[in-house]
């Protein structure tokens, strides 16, 4: 395993999971949860994987640079830290980019997607508290001239263990 060299990745939008090396796949599959909370987590992961710390650091840096991972860090439980909501808008196709641009410009918006539906713009807003959340929603409505359908989380059912690469 230590002989595996960190590869140079092709352009990040290419579908390339089949090309990932065993070590990369193991890092991606096994450390979405259970990252060692120790002073030297990468050395500990390397030991578990039979690789060197330097190689693990190099691969993780590349995975992040190329956007295969967005970060190594905490995923917070919704409704425990801050507040959030899923918001949807129905926007005429010829205004979608302009409206999406306004929505994305808010620091409080983290995901903003087009979806194939009459409600064609979907985004997640997170904020410190309800007041700030509703100020942002109201401001987006005023600036875009489109109503927002606000769908706050009521209950979470899935157990978030990360995403297996065999789906």
């Amino acid at each position: 395993m230590t002989a595996i060299a960190a590869r140079n990745y092709p352009a990040m939008t290419r579908a390339l999971e089949p090309e990932l090396s065993t070590l990369e796949k193991r890092l991606l599959n096994e450390y979405q949860k259970g990252f060692p909370l120790t002073p030297t987590p990468y050395a500990d992961m390397a030991r578990e994987l039979g690789a060197s710390e330097a190689l693990v650091l190099e691969i993780l840096t590349k995975l992040r640079e190329h956007g295969y991972i967005s970060r190594i860090g905490p995923v917070f439980k919704p409704k425990k830290v801050g507040v959030s909501t899923l918001a949807a808008m129905s926007v005429p196709a010829d205004q979608l980019h302009q409206v999406a641009g306004i929505v994305s410009s808010y620091e409080e918006v983290n995901h903003n997607y087009e979806r194939e539906h009459d409600f064609n713009l979907w985004f997640v807003v997170t904020a410190r508290d309800e007041r700030q959340l509703h100020e942002v929603l109201a401001e987006i409505e005023t600036r875009t001239g489109h109503a927002i359908m606000d769908l706050p989380l009521e209950e979470q059912f899935h157990i978030d263990l990360g995403f297996p690469l065999w789906c």
């Binding site: 956007g67 970060r71 905490p74 425990k80 830290v81 983290n110 979806r115 979470q156 978030d160």
Partner: protein, 158 residues
């Protein structure tokens, strides 16, 4: 949930990701005037209290080749939403499963789940498998595939 000033500071420093370096917690600690053990104790405490539900690599599905992404929304009778939500949430390929309010008359759906696949066919197959496995043939649902991604990053709470 009440967070101490130290915890708020820590969350602010790690919400965009831990440094990828030999002693990442020592680096975080330097910015907070804490040693790495003290930082780790704070993180463990956040995890034990359930504020952090997992800690690790946060993958970007699209970049890994999972280019088809569907939000599947279901109109489940209120007295069944717990059962159906838990059943769907147990499946490996369901990455999120949430109950949200209906907004009638335009929006009758109260259960939302997210499914990623390498292409649309695979996603539709997974949905069919879910319907079969959990006996959801009578539950109306819609599949909203994602189009353009305008923005995607971790949440900033503080």
């Amino acid at each position: 949930m009440v967070l101490s000033d130290t915890e708020q500071r820590l969350i602010g420093l790690i919400q965009d990701g831990l440094p990828i370096s030999r002693r990442p917690w020592a680096e975080i600690g330097q910015q907070m005037n804490l040693d790495e053990q003290q930082v780790l104790e704070q993180v463990r405490s956040l995890q034990e209290r359930g504020l952090i539900k997992r800690f690790g690599l946060v993958v970007r599905h699209h970049e890994l080749g999972y280019t088809a992404n569907a939000m599947v929304v279901w109109d489940v009778p209120d007295d069944q939403v717990q059962r159906v939500g838990k059943a769907l949430g147990r499946h490996d390929c369901v990455t999120l499963c949430y109950q949200r309010p209906r907004r009638l008359p335009r929006w009758p759906y109260n259960l939302f789940c997210m499914i990623h696949g390498k292409d649309r066919e695979r996603v539709l197959d997974i949905i069919e498998e879910l319907v079969e496995a959990e006996g959801l043939q009578e539950i109306p649902h819609e599949v909203l595939f994602s189009g353009e991604r305008f923005k995607q990053r971790g949440a900033k709470y503080l």
